[in-house]
């Protein structure tokens, strides 16, 4: 079997670039959702928030300045083709070095610290890395630079089956309601249903990588996403929590088979500035 070689240096260089772009250039899907928000939001204060976000995105892009001062903790999803051979270094170290260089060169905030001593680690490493081995000879890197306003409002819970899908829906809507203005609404809600304790959280996070406005390919899940989006937007929280008709820009759900005893549910809240970038090597 022919193994395709990818160097650790290429990985570092790619992660560096993705970190910089992710923090300074918002995706077209996000900008489009702000434009739609500006048009559809009923509250004048809410409309003004969309205006500020559009102006902010333009300044950030033009001046290569961080969209938000919370340049986040870096989450990297790797889809590693099984016919790829990484040479010239260790994959984890290559990614970590890419984050280190990206945050230094981009003038981004060093936010990571030791959880016990609270001593700052100085270079925003380490990232959180999720690896999935897939068929093929490519390596896909998805870099999510996630602020912690939304992360702090996220939860994982395991319901007994009797709670049912209605209970799951209620939980998701209540989570957004209780989060109020804290996670910088209008939010994007990543929901993981099923799996195990950690699987639910990982798929909820991965759901945030899907472009805003794109529905799940499964019609039942797509319907559930639309229903939840509608309910969340009736909460009245609005842009920045200042009251309004747009509390969420989208709801993305991913599912995974689970155990007969449980319905694990994870809700990963993402602020309006969903910053992520992908590359395939």
């Amino acid at each position: 079997m022919y193994l395709r070689k990818i160097t650790a240096k290429e990985i570092t260089e790619t992660v560096r670039k993705l970190c910089i772009e992710s923090n300074t250039i918002l995706g077209d899907d996000i900008i489009e959702s702000y434009n739609q928000g500006l048009e559809k939001e009923v509250s004048p204060v809410g409309k003004d928030v969309f205006r500020q976000l559009l102006e902010n995105a333009k300044i950030a892009k033009d001046e290569s300045l961080a969209v938000c001062q919370d340049t986040g903790m870096v989450i990297v999803f790797i889809e590693l083709g099984q016919d790829v051979h990484v040479v010239g270094g260790n994959v984890n170290e290559a990614i970590t070095e890419g984050v280190r260089q990206g945050y230094k060169d981009g003038c981004f905030r060093a936010s990571t610290l030791d959880p016990l001593t609270r001593k700052n680690l100085g270079d925003n490493t380490p990232p959180v890395i999720h690896v999935e081995v897939v068929p093929g000879n490519k390596l896909k890197l998805s870099v999510l630079t996630k602020g912690f306003g939304g992360e702090m409002m996220s939860r994982v819970i395991a319901f007994p089956p009797a709670v049912g899908i209605e209970g799951v829906k209620r939980y998701v809507v209540e989570r957004v309601e209780e989060s109020g203005a804290n996670p910088c609404p209008p939010v994007i809600v990543g929901v993981g249903i099923g799996g195990t304790f950690e699987k639910a959280a990982i798929i909820a996070k991965k759901a945030l990588l899907r472009p805003v406005g794109k529905r799940h390919s499964h019609p039942e899940i797509a319907k559930l996403e639309e229903e939840l989006l509608k309910k969340i937007n009736q909460l009245g929280i609005g842009p920045q929590g200042l009251g309004g008709t747009i509390t969420a820009l989208d709801v993305h759900i991913e599912t995974y088979p689970t155990h007969i005893a449980s319905i694990p549910v994870a809700v990963n809240i993402q602020c309006h500035s969903n910053r992520h970038r992908e590359a395939i090597l």
């Binding site: 300044i59 001046e63 300045l65 905030r109 936010s111 700052n120």
Partner: protein, 185 residues
Amino acid sequence: MGKVTQITTPLTDDMLEKLHIGDRVLITGTLFTARDAAHKRLVELVREGKALPFDIKGAIIYYVGPTPPKPGSVIGSAGPTSSYRMDSYAPLLIAQGLKGMIGKGARGKEVVEAMQKYKAVYFVATGGAGALISKTIKKAEVVAYEDLGAEAIRKLEVENFPALVVNDIYGNDFYEEGWKQYKKV
């Protein structure tokens, strides 16, 4: 939207009496930055009866941990962080003469009560608009706790810094009003 008021620091009770929830303000003057770690130290100083590293009487604290400045800039991206994390420290600082706080998100009951009792106002700035807000910051210097990096206390000189009054000295809360108005469930 509410009226727009130009205000300059330091804040006085007379100025705060005229501010109501929903009012837009453009702040010119000095802001001091502080997040969780700096608040912890400030409150320890107050409890020990020691002097604070800046004059808190009439001051505004801005809850922000900016990104480092790019070469030739004063500051990097500098939007507000979530305020509730400072709730356990804020009442003590308000009692010391702090008159304004800028952040994002709702405040706890004790903070709202302290604002009413000692006359202080809570403003919000747009979270996630750090690049835009940075344009109103004309000068920045670290005045304490340099070891905290992004969490050090900085003295910022601002011109027309945009914010919105969310809690006034009369005990009102703009978030509650806004949600009531638009809630449909």
